[in-house]
């Protein structure tokens, strides 16, 4: 499975990762190699097999509808890159 530079850039964009133009060929070859490697999976026919998303066959436990979390804004925002008036700041969001 060989990826193209265009595909790699599309993936990097979906994942919001800046990659240098100069590094693109390296990513193309490394990612293609990995995809080739995982393509070994095609050796087995898995047609009727149920996919397994969880190691244990258990079901979701539910929590009671109770407010248990106090306001900790000061603590949480003490580690934020940029805040003002209690809000997290980011470059303008354009809709």
């Amino acid at each position: 499975m060989s990826l193209t530079a265009v595909e790699v850039k599309k993936i990097a964009h979906l994942a919001r990762l800046a990659i240098n133009e100069a590094d693109t060929p390296k990513y193309v070859s490394e990612l293609s190699t990995i995809l080739d490697f995982v393509a070994q999976m095609d050796k087995v026919d898995t047609g009727s097999i149920l996919p397994m998303a969880h190691p244990l066959d258990v079901t979701q436990r539910l929590r009671a509808d109770e407010v248990t979390e106090p306001n900790q804004r000061e603590l949480f925002q003490s580690i934020a890159p940029s805040v003002e008036s209690g809000l997290y700041l980011v470059p303008q969001v354009i809709e």
Binding site: L14, R16, A53, H54, V58, T59, Q60, R61, L62, R63, A64, D65, E66, V67, T68, E69, N71, Q72, R73, F76, Q77, S82, E84, S85, G86, L87, Y88, L89, V90, P91, Q92, V93, I94, E95
Partner: protein, 479 residues
């Protein structure tokens, strides 16, 4: 060419749980920014979600009320995309196995027909935060209080054929979720939000046209306008030789137009996959049966009952059941007044609704209680006051804490029913207007109203209208 409109609606209802869907933070509206966003809502490294049982119960309630299938096994999935109001970079939602599927809602159209609208699915998910676009030196501010608030997204089939039908469906659904007590329905605060998928096709064509998704619709009025604008835009576009492009469009209420959303132009690839932090949700029949027992009477059942029990018209009943609280108000009033239900319905749907509307109040905030309204209606029924005077009493009652009887007494509004007093008043009026009397007697019947008016004026409106009519007729006839 004749065009047919096809509309499907996606409604997001915020569920009225106390805490978030996956965390123990509060969901109350209007708190200071980020004071109700805990480590989980903020997507701190290492945190994990745990599902709120109440959100599941509420979804089951909705499912039962729309005759849907409640999935015995449903799965939460991650919808991956980057947006500042989405702290984890994914929204926990449901994709392949939603909790509710294949239901329907019957809606009563204006022309008296009933239409069945299919509901493809309803799934649980978490709400996102909010971006504040006020300028912070070229930056936006992010408030994550809303992040993690439970939502149920109710997706209809493309079964609606006009903006009007869409509104009827939405209002029916709005009433339903409020009856169920699972959503407060507040559209201003965003508790009940709607996206509309709109397309057009030549009448008779079975294939669907390309649709556009309309967003930012936060009132019934705007939804109707936006859909109508969009229908016209698409028809004009196609008739002008263009083609509709599938896109998301934002409704601008100020300009009454829709325009494409800029930031989401690129095709999204949400990369849904089962959330490995959450396990499949198992819902046993016993739980479904238990929730079924807790279901309240639903709008349609109530509407039918009110018509039967109180001999109301379909219209009166449908207005009364538009909210559970209004219907409760009506029933409480009738019970206490022991007057005709029709009179109560007229007053509640008329005078009271208008006054609430004027003051922008919900029925639950009405300054006039069912007991007070019942007192008023009883005084109309027993002829203590006329309907017209009752309106004045209503006005005073709205503002004061006095009882109906004390208002009537203090203001001297008691109806005059003493026939000798009425005769005296009529005699005075006739004596003062000999020319009109003569004209009337020579055939100008229309002047009857003039005499009624004069007597009413003289009495301050307090004369019993029926008695006045009878006596006046006799007197004018010279008897």
């Amino acid at each position: 060419m004749k065009w047919e409109t096809v509309i499907g609606l996606e409604v997001h209802c915020q569920l009225t749980t106390k805490s978030k869907i996956f965390s123990g933070a509060a969901t109350a509206y209007g708190a200071a920014p980020n004071t109700q966003a805990c480590a989980i809502d903020l997507g701190m490294p290492g945190v994990l979600p745990v599902l709120n049982i109440e959100a599941v119960h509420m979804a089951i309630k909705l499912g039962l009320s729309i005759d849907a299938t409640i999935s015995p096994h449903s799965v939460f999935a991650r919808k991956n995309y980057f947006y500042p109001d989405l702290p984890k970079g994914y929204q926990i939602s449901q994709f392949e196995l939603p909790i509710v599927s294949q239901g329907h809602l019957d809606i009563d159209l204006e022309d008296g027909t009933r239409k069945r609208v299919g509901i493809t699915r309803a799934h649980l998910e978490e709400d996102a935060g909010k971006s504040m676009h006020e300028d912070f030196n070229g930056m936006s501010g992010i408030d994550l209080n809303r992040a993690g608030t439970p939502l149920i997204e109710i997706v209809s089939e493309p079964d609606m054929r006009s903006a009007k039908e869409a509104i009827v469906y939405l209002k029916s659904l709005h009433a339903l979720v409020r009856y169920l007590g699972i959503c407060d329905g507040n559209m201003q605060e965003g508790s009940f939000r709607c996206d509309a998928n709109v397309s057009v096709r030549p009448l008779g064509e079975s294939k669907l046209g390309t649709r556009c998704e309309l967003k930012n619709l936060n009132s019934f009025r705007f939804i109707e306008r936006a859909i109508n604008f969009e229908i016209a835009r698409q028809i004009e576009l196609i008739e002008g030789g263009g083609t509709v492009i599938q896109q998301t469009r934002l409704y601008d209420a100020d300009k009454n137009e829709t325009r494409p959303l800029r930031s989401k132009e690129e095709a999204n690839d949400y990369r849904y996959f089962p959330d490995p932090d959450l396990l499949p949700v198992a819902i046993e029949q016993a739980l479904i049966d238990k929730v079924r027992l807790e279901l309240p009477e639903l709008p349609q059942q109530k509407c039918e009952r009110l018509q039967k029990q109180y001999e109301l018209s379909a219209y009166d009943a449908s207005v009364l059941v538009s909210s559970r609280e209004l219907a409760d108000y009506f029933e409480a009033t009738v019970k206490q007044a022991q007057v005709s239900a029709k009179l109560a319905a007229n007053w509640i749907n008329g005078e009271l609704a208008a006054a609430l509307n004027r003051h922008n109040l919900e029925i639950t905030a009405s300054p006039i209680t069912p007991a007070q309204l019942a007192d008023l209606l009883r005084r109309i029924a027993d002829n203590t006051i006329s309907g017209k005077i009752a309106k004045s009493v209503f006005e005073i009652l709205w503002e004061s804490k006095e009882s109906v009887d004390s208002i009537i007494e203090k203001q001297g509004l008691r109806q005059v029913t003493d026939s000798s007093a009425i005769e005296k008043m009529i005699d005075d009026i006739l004596a003062a207007n000999p020319q009109h009397v003569a004209e009337y007697r020579s055939g100008k019947d229309k002047l009857f109203g003039f005499f009624v008016g004069q007597v009413m004026k003289a009495s301050g409106g307090k004369v019993n209208p029926q008695q006045l009519n009878d006596v006046l007729k006799k007197k004018l006839a010279g008897q």
